[in-house]
């Protein structure tokens, strides 16, 4: 057998390695013969530098850790190998323990003989052999470990909050009240988000605007908040603590210094357009508009694609009538660059488009409404002044059907449950009862009312006499079969509890459409360099334990941007993200893991294959030197560029080529003196 080239240079400095094999109760010891591994490491790997080999029931316990500290001090260990669970769990534990003992934390290695051995094998002999191989690999690798220092990155005090809905507002207020500056960027002319469109919120039936607008005003007047509305983030560069963000402040064509918010321009504007966004397509606005009276900021915007002046060069009524001469048709978009330390993304959701379900009739049949349309209908400031009426604008319905799960829980559209629609549908039932006295039917598959006061709300709606039909609506149609169905909307459904198909004539149908990610969610994720799932929801660092962070340091997420949720959960997340950010800011600097990739400029040929591979935008190309450079603060150590480089010019600190190759050799037991024995021990 020929010897591999990279094998075991004789001028390797002899390290003093401690090996610690954990029982993990019976998790490991039940399958792997821990004592045998300990003995084997102590004897066979002596020539490789192992001076002490111990085993213990729970290495992660304080006693286990103290064992390591003591050995480092007493025996002068220069390297530590712990064979236990996965590094995901306790790598940090043992690194800190080593540090307490006086050793650089990066000179330890935790190799997994639990997830990778005892938990996946049942043959005890084979498992023990494999554990030996794993330990051997760890020993070989750790010899090549270098002492590393974490990176100190200063944190800029300012924070960027993207999205002016309730999540963004909550986060911004918390940080600003803490005394730190906040930049808030909102795409629409006013902050408020979807919550500003609602009439009442469940289960308390608070008026949405009444509880939201005070917060909006606080944001608008807060000394520490810089509000950019009618603006979007154009580009982001940099890394945690030092983001450089370019904001495009779109031209309002209104001079904010001069505008008093009197509203005369809106009165006088002759161009009426259907408001697709705030009024959900149910009401009108002018070409120069503020979306609603309580808008923050109060300055209107001119909708350029629909303005007569921009289209034809005439009109200018707003300019003529403005008492302070605030209209400025020559205004241009402004690009503003800011420096922030952390970013919170709270861009919210879009509603599922029920036109995708033609058998529900939305769009064809006049009196089928979506949930947002109904909110506008019942809102006192809405297009019908709070009158719940049919599409003709006048007739009050005598019976209303509310359909749950439209576009949700359905493989054909969205497979998930949209969390809020059941409560929302109950709310609609209550509002219709209250305002019109009509008969209300709710069509559901399940009633999901998990949170505080939610099921009590269901009880209340039952008491009001709402008729619940358990059945997923098959069709909403106007094709009448009997005289009493003529001229009405017929809901065809199987009443599963009664076991019969029913055709129920109603006057109005409300579709509780599901929540979807924003249409441009993927583009947003790309701008900020975070991950986004296939359907567009942003991905949190850990779904259970870390719901507001992302895998990108310094960028946090809050609200419906990660998935459907109700207002209390959204507010909690906004506050949680704010707390995380403030914690960072107060530390003034953060320590980043030094496990990063770096380019050896002498070996880099400038081929740039790696440039577009980095998922964290950490790679830049230096034109004048024709080499690639990696920003250590952005790099997450994923290894993609390392693998891609054809010249092998990229290496990772903490995962260098050498370290990896040595670990492989160790796993294959090529380090042992007796090759024949090694051949036997290699697991089949």
């Amino acid at each position: 057998m020929s010897q591999p080239i990279h094998l075991f240079d004789s001028d390797d400095p002899q390290e003093r390695i401690g090996v610690y094999v954990c029982h993990c109760g019976t998790n490991i010891a039940g399958i792997v013969d821990v004592e045998e591994v300990r003995d084997w490491a102590g004897q066979r790997l002596k020539d490789r530098g192992v001076v002490v080999s111990r085993d213990y029931k729970f290495m992660c316990s304080s006693l286990g850790q103290e064992m390591i500290e003591k050995d480092i001090k007493d025996l002068g260990l220069t390297r530590v190998v712990v064979a236990a669970c996965s590094p995901h769990l306790h790598e940090q534990t043992f690194r800190t323990a080593a540090q307490r003992g006086g050793l650089n934390p990066y000179l330890t290695e935790l190799v997994s003989i639990r997830e990778q051995v005892s938990w996946v094998h049942t043959d005890k002999n084979a498992a023990t052999d494999k554990a030996k191989a794993v330990v051997s690999g760890g020993v070989e690798r750790v010899i090549k470990n270098q002492p590393l220092e974490p990176l100190h990155v200063p944190i800029n005090e300012a924070t960027l909050v993207v999205g002016g809905g309730i999540a963004g507002i909550q986060a911004a207020l918390e940080i600003a009240d803490g005394g730190y500056p906040v930049f808030m960027v909102e795409r629409e002319p006013s902050i408020g988000g979807h919550m500003a469109q609602f009439d009442k919120t469940f289960p308390t039936l608070d008026c949405a605007a009444c509880i939201l607008t005070p917060r909006m005003v606080s944001v608008g007047t807060h000394p520490h908040i810089n509000l950019f509305t009618w603006s979007e983030v154009e580009s982001v560069s940099g890394y945690v603590g030092n983001f450089t963000v370019t904001i495009r402040k779109k031209a309002r064509f209104v001079n904010e210094e001069l505008c008093t918010g009197c509203g005369i321009c809106q009165e006088k504007c002759p161009k009426k357009i259907i408001d697709e966004i705030y009024e959900a397509g149910l009401g009108y606005r002018k070409a120069v508009y503020t979306p609603f009276p309580q808008a923050v900021p109060k300055y209107p915007v001119i909708d350029k694609p629909n303005c007569t002046y921009f289209l034809k060069g005439t009109c200018k009524a707003c300019e003529k009538f403005c008492p302070t001469n605030a209209i400025d048709f020559n205004q241009k978009d402004e690009l503003i660059t800011i420096q922030v330390g952390n970013i919170i993304l709270a861009t919210g959701y879009d509603l599922f488009d029920p036109r995708r379900i033609p058998h529900y009739g939305y769009g064809r049949l006049a009196n089928v409404y979506t949930s947002l349309e109904f909110e506008r209908l019942s809102n006192a400031a809405g297009p019908t002044n709070g009158e719940i009426v049919l599409r003709d604008g006048k007739t009050k319905p005598k019976s209303v059907g509310v359909i749950h799960c439209v576009g949700s829980r359905d493989r054909n559209y969205n497979n998930y449950c949209s969390a809020i629609c059941c409560m929302q549908s109950l709310k609609f039932a209550h509002l219709v009862h209250e305002r019109t006295g009509a008969t209300v039917y709710n069509f559901y598959i399940d009633i999901r009312t998990p949170a505080k006061a939610y099921d009590e709300f269901y009880q209340r709606v039952l008491e009001e006499g709402t008729l619940f039909v358990r059945g997923r609506v098959a069709e909403v149609t106007d094709a009448a079969r009997k005289p009493e169905e003529e001229g009405r909307l017929i809901i065809q459904v199987e009443d599963t509890l009664a076991g019969k198909q029913r055709r129920i004539p109603v006057d109005m149908v409300i579709l509780s459409a599901g929540l979807e990610p924003r249409k441009d969610a993927k583009a947003t994720a790309h701008t900020f360099g975070i991950s986004c799932s296939a359907d567009g929801w942003f991905i949190e660092k850990h779904p259970k334990l870390d719901p507001v962070s992302t895998m990108t340091e310094g960028i946090f997420i809050a609200g419906c941007v990660t998935g459907p949720k109700d207002i209390p959960a959204t507010v909690s997340q906004g506050a949680a993200a704010a707390a995380r950010v403030m914690g960072r800011i107060q530390q003034k600097e953060i320590l980043l893991e030094p496990v990063r990739a770096s380019v050896n400029p002498d070996q880099c040929s400038g081929c740039r294959i790696c440039n577009n591979l980095c998922p964290f935008n950490a790679i830049t190309f230096i034109e004048d030197r024709m080499v690639t450079e990696i920003n250590p603060a952005l790099c997450q150590g994923c290894g993609t560029c390392v693998a891609a480089c054809p010249a092998g010019a990229i290496s990772g600190t903490g995962f260098s080529n050498e370290q990896i190759l040595r670990q492989i050799d160790g796993l294959l037991m090529l380090n042992l003196e007796y090759m024949s024995e090694a051949a036997e021990l290699v697991p089949a």
Binding site: G283, Y284, D353, P358, G363, A366, L390, D392, G393, R481
Partner: protein, 333 residues
């Protein structure tokens, strides 16, 4: 000339003679060449599948195997009859989705010296070919006699747009293919809400009450929308609604006269062909009203049906814009 393998199906030679005649007649001006599969057998309709699994699919697969062997440079079978179309497509699809079925079917085929690899052929409906291969632009250019003033209710029936294994139709409940064809040939197309609702199929034999109910729903809806004629693409639907309309009326105590023809017959008229060559006259409910509208026979004093039932109100709250009006993009991604 576009070439296709052709699977007529048993009805084309009997109760859907008009379909057969009109379809073959329009092929020439549209540049389509259909080659009939040699010695094809019945697909089993919806009956054979109800009796057994493997023999039913083996019955269908024989046709697929024969078609594949005959394949003369084309891998597409055109099947105009709904049940045949669905059965062929289903067989091909399930032989892939459930490999054991594929193995068993081929085992049976082998007893007859045949074999078929699932997925080798593409099974399409004539309407699909017309819209996507010939193209509506081409069709429009060949129209010499637009069906002005004829109100048509497009009726696709249930088995062609569903279950749509190959995703060929714009929507399984409200496909717009037939609507577009009828618009292009100049007719006034009704937004018929029951356009893919079932006609009852074989219930006319087994459960007449159910069948009459379903047929009645269709003709009364078409009547409510003041249609002059229904245009369909399924032989079973045409027969049920046409031949059984009398019985339906008797059973329900109504007197609706709703003629129903095959869409190829209307296309043929628009292309300038003679009604006699398109199978007109074979229907039970007279199409005189329709032909009169486009001046093809001596017009007798005939009552003009009242104009449009107002469906969209002008005042009141704005309606959501449907993509059709905004320029024919599809809503479904």
């Amino acid at each position: 000339m576009d070439k296709y393998l052709f699977y007529p199906g048993c009805s084309m030679e009997s109760n859907a003679k008009a379909y057969s005649e009109s379809l073959l007649a329009v092929c020439e001006p549209l540049g389509l060449k259909l080659e009939e599969i040699n010695d094809w057998n019945c697909c089993g309709a919806t009956e054979y599948l109800g009796v057994s699994l493997t023999p039913a699919y083996a019955l269908i697969a024989r046709n697929l195997a024969l078609a594949y062997n005959q394949s003369n440079g084309t891998q597409t079978i055109v099947a105009p009859c709904s049940a045949c179309y669905l059965n062929l497509a289903k067989c091909d699809y399930y032989m892939q989705e459930r490999p054991e079925l594929g193995v068993n079917v081929n085992d049976a085929l082998a007893a007859g010296g045949l074999h078929y690899d699932a997925g080798s052929l593409s099974i399409r409906h004539f309407l699909d070919v017309l819209v996507n291969d010939v193209g509506l632009e081409t069709l429009k250019s060949k129209v010499v006699r637009p069906l002005k003033g004829v109100r048509v209710a497009p009726y696709l029936g249930c088995m062609v747009p569903r279950p749509d294994y190959d995703h060929r139709w714009s929507n399984p409940e409200y496909p717009n293919e037939l609507d577009r064809v009828l618009k292009v040939i100049g007719a006034e197309v009704i937004d018929f809400p029951l356009k893919t609702h079932c006609c009852g199929g074989h219930m006319t034999q087994i459960g007449p009450q159910t069948a009459y109910e379903l047929i009645y729903r269709l003709i009364s809806a078409a009547d409510q929308y003041h249609a002059d004629v229904m245009a369909t693409l399924c032989p079973m639907c045409q027969m049920n609604i046409d031949a059984y309309q009398g019985e339906t009326n008797r059973h329900k105590g109504s007197d609706i006269q709703m003629p129903i023809v095959f869409f190829t017959q209307l296309v043929g008229l628009a292309l300038g062909l003679d009604p006699k060559d398109l199978g007109f006259g074979r229907e039970f409910i007279s199409t005189k009203r329709v032909l009169d509208r486009i001046g093809l026979e001596m017009p007798e004093p005939v009552e003009v049906a009242p104009v449009t039932k107002p469906r969209k109100k002008q005042e009141g709250l704005p309606m959501p814009r449907m993509p059709r009006e905004a320029g024919d993009e599809e809503v479904n991604p």
